[in-house]
Symmetry: C2
Subunit: 221 residues, 2 copies
DNA sequence: AGCCCAATTACGGTTTGCCGTAATAAAAAG
DNA sequence: CTTTTTATTACGGCAAACCGTAATTGGGCT
């Protein structure tokens, strides 16, 4: 059973509604945090007291207000939490499509459920909770479709490095120098050209601009 | 006073929390809708009955589920509502930064307040409601800063056309033909090059890829 | 060591994009 | 109607990106 839940969500609107859903579901005990650091601290403390949380519900993107935080991103929070309490269940509650990230997290068994903030999200969350309490993972068909449709392509770290550099304003012939300086393995201009060509072809784009927008939307930048 | 409110918001989480905030604020009567069409219908009906809404709270982006809808976007909803009931107050509640859109709406007096779904959004909404009830508009400093910092630049229709074409995979030398075919005034390759150059310079980008990502994030694509 | 396979790099030709300048067209001013 | 100004287009040289092919490197294997 899922008796003890912690919610990490910076949007107050969403945070409140998730709390209310927990009440509806008769979850015995739930806490909430607006910052990743808070959430992690609460999880550590509960763990030490021998009253660990069963489930973490977390957003992926947290906004930077002035307050300095060690962790500022859902994915980082997930990694940190897993280090503290490997067996905790984790449910992602995200507003934007970041299929690349989410797919990756699922494949590596870093998360157990994904609910998108969208139409019927309350019902989705309830369904996800239900699945989790039965020991199942929750991966909505909509996401599966999306991944299949748009993002079969697996970006390597190398790809992402190149794309980020381009997006920072580097031109292709400046990149080899950068790569050599950072000891990244393929570093020739030729390799870069070849890789970009391959990616474009695979995703059906005719220029890099489309690729950049795609990567931006997939949360890779 | 703001006594009668209609909420148009497709995310159930957000919709619920806004309703709850209305209760907290002792708003006498509020309705909600998950679709733009529903919201517009309710506004029309209330208007006909002589019991019009004082305020519309609406999201900007609505997700397309299967259900066919006439209106699928917050901006379109706002225009339609203004046609029915010009004097209604309108508050935008949006998750993504779409500063270009929002700035434009404010400048043309199409909306009266803007609240971003983010940290402290509940408090922001309450403040906005307070301002509105005093006959003021609500335009958070954060947005003003953002506009000033990143988007002083005004994109013309021509700019947007070019950028969209590029993003569709056109290459620059194919665009003149398209423009001539659609009777768009400057149509030479030279004009296109010059325009892009100017935009890049003005926004401080060194290549078109960055520009595309920027436009994508600004909601221009 | 020597061989093979795959990955990486180097190179050359072609296309596309970039940018300055000059010619032309259109619009505003006189 | 002519002149001046502004916008648009045409052109040319150059840099960047693209793309195919060939040379080189570096493991893994016998």
């Amino acid at each position: 059973m899922i008796d003890k839940v912690i919610i990490a969500e910076d949007q107050e609107f969403a945070n409140l509604s998730v709390q209310k859903t927990m009440e509806d579901l008769k979850v015995k005990h739930y806490d909430y945090a607006f910052y990743c650091d808070d959430a992690l601290a609460k999880i550590q403390l509960a763990q030490q007291k021998g009253e660990p949380y069963d489930l973490l519900i977390t957003d992926l993107s947290f906004e930077d207000d002035g307050t300095a935080q060690k962790i500022n991103d859902g994915v980082d929070l997930i990694r940190a939490v897993r280090a503290v309490q490997p067996a905790i269940l984790i449910l992602i509650l995200s507003g934007q499509h970041r299929p690349a990230d989410i797919h990756h997290l699922f494949e590596n068994n870093e998360v157990d459920a994904y609910v998108r903030k969208a139409r019927h999200d309350v019902q989705e969350l309830k369904s996800a909770m239900h699945a989790l309490s039965k020991g199942q993972r929750y991966y909505p068909r909509s996401l599966a479709q999306l991944i299949k449709r748009s993002n079969t392509y697996e970006f390597t770290d190398f790809d992402i490095t190149i794309i980020r550099l381009l997006n920072q304003g580097y031109q292709q012939n400046e990149i080899p120098a950068y790569l050599k300086q950072h000891d990244i393995k393929p570093s020739s201009l030729s390799s870069i050209e070849k890789r970009l060509n391959q990616i474009r072809e695979e995703l059906g784009f005719s220029n890099n601009q489309q690729l950049m927008v795609f990567c931006n939307n997939a949360g890779l930048l």
